[in-house]
Symmetry: C2
Subunit: 191 residues, 2 copies
């Protein structure tokens, strides 16, 4: 089969490259070992700046030609200066973005043209936990709800299946629902 340029791209996804990538990883599973990294620098109070650039994957260091900066702070009501979203909001943003990227890719692979994908994410948190005022309250979100609005040239059921498949294969959803191993160490010097 010869693909023309018009059916090679769908939803902004190069479908030929998508399937070629899947075939390449099938042939060489170790290419899928990735390491992502962030460097964070404290600025003042609750304000910090994360820098994201290189990562490891496909058997080699992957140097980006740029760095991304992600800032975080607390709002004034939580004793910050509201320079940037809270870390908890960044966590919700990561979840939305992961599910949405999956919807873009999966739709493209299944031949569905999307016209609109929007989502609203809400997370409920009782700050008596992080404030150390109750040992019965957890530190993090009790519940997170994600609601998608999805429009495309497929029956409702097929669009729902795309959202479900994205959920079933989301890296961020997995970590947020199942947890993972996190180690924290410190190089501390009096200065």
């Amino acid at each position: 089969m010869t693909m023309t340029e018009s059916n090679r791209m769908r939803n902004g996804v190069d479908v030929t490259t998508l399937f070629a990538t899947l075939d390449a990883v099938k042939a060489q599973p170790e290419a899928a070992q990735f390491q992502f990294r962030v460097k964070n620098r404290w600025v003042s109070g609750t304000h910090s700046m994360g820098t994201i650039s290189s990562f490891y994957g496909v058997g080699t260091e992957q140097a980006r030609d740029k760095s991304f900066v992600v800032e975080a702070d607390h709002p004034e009501v939580l004793v910050g200066n509201d320079k940037a979203p809270t870390p908890a909001e960044h966590l919700l943003a990561a979840l939305a973005a992961c599910l949405t990227a999956g919807i873009g890719n999966i739709s493209a692979a299944r031949g569905v043209e999307l016209t609109e994908v929007e989502s609203t994410i809400e997370g409920d948190i009782d700050l008596n936990g992080i404030l150390g005022l109750s040992d019965e309250v957890r530190n993090g979100f009790d519940n997170i709800r994600v609601n998608f609005k999805i429009r495309g040239n497929a029956p409702e059921e097929k669009l729902r299946e795309i959202v479900e498949q994205s959920r079933a294969r989301s890296a961020v959803f997995d970590v947020l629902t199942n947890g993972t191993n996190v180690s924290v160490s410190a190089d501390a010097t009096s200065a």
Copy 2:
């Protein structure tokens, strides 16, 4: 005790307000019920934009006078256009920022002046999971490592205790290690 301006602020944290906030929540624990939100809009392929503005807390809607935008994409090696960090990198950035904000606040509360806080976060992920090529590989990070460099006017042991207390009271660390409830729903219409 009368506090002067110079000992009221420490590490950019208004210590008087920090303790007043703790006292206020002690007196009225329901003030600590918060809801954070993100709205996400798919742009193209794996690229999406999250918007963060209002939240609920201290018994009322909290309208910010601005919106923050958080973009995400995949790099080219993962069939994206590298317009922004990956969702997985945003997750690591959220963790670093949460632990760092905690270090800022806890140091201020304990009378420690910080001179430098930096951290490096690494997350290992085998993409055979999200690519659907192995049912034995999880979708998310297998391991995340956070290493802090912390400098301040306290003995090493006290600086280490501050990092440990931040870990013990971090909202993002809790969710990433213990998991939480996440529901995903979809309003799907053929269009």
